[in-house]
Symmetry: C2
């Protein structure tokens, strides 16, 4: 292992690996700890980049962060492909949002009206226009809308690409679990451990189980539809994500449970809704059913920034349903914070302090109580010094 | 390998292995050829022993054979357990046949009336009696009947037990495929190759695809129901087979296809019917979905006996949906035929000659044209002779 690194990242999911990549690219010496990279929520995730379709009532600040991150995705994907040669399956056909029954459509329209009301690009479609866009939709589907800017990426391509990019930029992967943050010796420790962040930090991150089914178009061809389809079908909310290799991800349940068992009832509900919306899916192969655990938070928003009372520790967790879309902005802003010591205004609503007001209000345990900190000196600038480039005491986020 | 054996069995599914066991136990030298024992239809089969519930209009002779074989099952299972120490999951709680809707019940009642009319033990149950027997049934289930003598066994325990029994009795397993019967050197060759029999013999055996789902009761306990349940649910026919280890087999589609892909539509239909009949199954884990190929025949009955025009070759295939229940009678009667040279009257309606009348009507290609043949001399009686205990010419089934 390296001598004491500038940055230790706990968790090699997309968020952790992207942070490692961005930090390493800035010259920081980075170590990433994870016994099983990419085996968490990202292995199950569909990879929708959906700030519009995922803009819900009462989550205005989160919508802003989702939108900012989605806007970074084209360049992020291009840069990642340039760095690694890996096609991460970034696709820009956009998302169709549909309602199967009149009741489903009424529910969907309330949400679309909200999304339009806050200025998001939602285009209602006549049924004929909907079918022109996606002829495979069931004749029963009553109506829909188009979110042209809601794209997709393939998380199972993304994670290996990010790992390659991080390692090529100089980061080191340590394939072992971190049980306590005190076991990690680094200038800054970033907790990007998904649900595992709760035990490491005490932050209110809880598992939110999601079950998905993966289908495959018969005969080895591409699926018979191009858009991401998000639908309400007899009250069931389902999404269908087509990949160019023939895969279709059908998801997802949202359950307050911590197991990863696949239940017959969940698969039944997903397949029923999927086939109701797109009948040809009945003929697709069912190749995988699985469950993952999203890192949920009390306000459904991620937890990004300095951990109160824990100098030198940053959180980058709690991404819940949004880990893939939020990967670029999380990585950029956490790397900025580490290298400049400044919390970007975009991050401000999402800092851990919102869940630890008592701690945050107390006097700091070391110099300074603000979130601004002096920048971490990149290893490149510190090579003439000792192996320990940044004393922990310089990090006083609390 | 042995010098030329008395009996070569092609196919190590339950039928082939049971024939090998029975022949070896009579002192015959037996070799079984199969590159992957137990990997065919039996790996997918639910293991219902259901001569009553499977008694369909127009299949009277088949019903007789199913009934005769089911009657042999208690002793067969006991003997197998005594020989191997393996519990093959033989259970005698019986089968409930139910209808979900009024239409389903009407359809089911026509069949029950037929079954009662030919003297089979079908007992109609009042809804209250049905629920007394199986409280987990959905309140919507309109009615049912009880087939006390329709039992079950676990095919995934049965096959290893039969293999052990056959090997302990002296049979040898050769883990290689047989491409042509002429490659097999034995006194008698028994083709028990399931769907593979078509290519080896020209018999009209075709693959009939069946898809099943395997669930497991949550928490490691036994399923919340005891009987095999066979139901009509909104026109879908489904069965639910509970095992004491917590497994529930939900089956099965009947498709004129030769692939073993699992389709989303089939799993959807199976799970919907299962959950409609027994709502608690929604909470069960979905642990496996798979497809197998039953060896179907033009009249849905097996093909058992001498192959016309092919001296020394017997067929034991075409068991379609009935391979497990028919294993004991097939093994006993084929072993009898080999050792005595006499076709049991029970077998007579099922000989291959019914599909090859032109060949069967021609003069025999060697001495004799009847199905009666001289008995095979057990190896024990022939050890003083050459390694070839039975000249092929003695076998003149055609």
């Amino acid at each position: 292992m390296l001598s004491r690194p500038d940055v230790a990242v706990v968790g090699a999911g997309p968020v952790g690996l992207a942070i490692a990549w961005r930090c390493a690219a800035r010259g920081l010496r980075v170590v990433v700890h994870d016994p099983a990279p990419g085996s968490g929520a990202s292995h199950v995730a569909a990879g929708m980049l959906a700030p519009v379709a995922e803009a819900y009532f009462g989550e205005h600040e989160l919508t802003g962060l989702l939108t900012a991150s989605a806007a970074r995705w084209p360049a992020f994907a291009a840069e990642l492909t340039a760095a690694t040669g890996v096609d991460v399956g970034y696709r820009t056909e956009g998302t169709l949002m549909v309602g199967l029954t009149a009741d489903d459509l009424a529910e969907a329209r309330r949400l679309w009206a909200y999304q339009q009301g806050i200025g998001l690009p939602v285009t209602p479609l006549r049924p004929s226009a909907l079918r022109d866009r996606e002829p495979a939709l069931a004749p029963r589907v009553r109506g829909g809308a188009f979110a042209a800017t809601d794209h997709q990426v393939d998380p199972r391509r993304l994670v290996p690409a990010l790992r390659t990019a991080a390692e090529r930029a100089g980061a080191t992967l340590v394939p072992a679990a971190v049980r306590r943050l005190s076991d990690v010796a680094a200038g800054v420790t970033v907790v990007a451990a998904g649900c595992g962040a709760a035990a490491l930090t005490g932050l209110p991150v809880r598992p939110v189980k999601g079950q998905v089914a993966r289908l495959r178009a018969p005969g080895g061809g591409a699926p018979g539809f191009r858009h991401v389809i998000r639908g309400y079908a007899d009250g069931e909310h389902v999404y269908l994500v087509p990949r160019s290799d023939g895969e279709v991800v059908v998801g997802a349940t949202v359950e307050e449970r911590a197991d990863t068992d696949v239940s017959a009832g969940a698969v039944l509900r997903l397949l029923r809704a999927a086939v109701d919306l797109l009948p040809e899916l009945a003929e697709y192969d069912l190749v995988e059913t699985l469950a993952g655990l999203r890192p949920g938070t009390p306000d459904n928003a991620p937890i990004l920034g300095p951990l109160p009372g824990r100098p030198g520790v940053l959180a980058a967790t709690g991404h819940h349903r949004h880990g893939i879309v939020l990967t670029p902005v999380t990585a950029d802003l956490i790397a900025d914070l580490i290298s400049t010591g400044t919390v970007d205004p975009l991050l401000a609503p999402f800092t851990p302090a919102r869940f630890t007001p008592a701690v945050a209000a107390e006097p700091a345990t070391s110099a300074g109580s603000g979130v601004n900190v002096g920048p971490v000196v990149p290893a490149a600038d510190a090579r003439s010094g000792s192996g320990t480039s940044v004393p922990e005491e310089e990090h006083t986020w609390n």
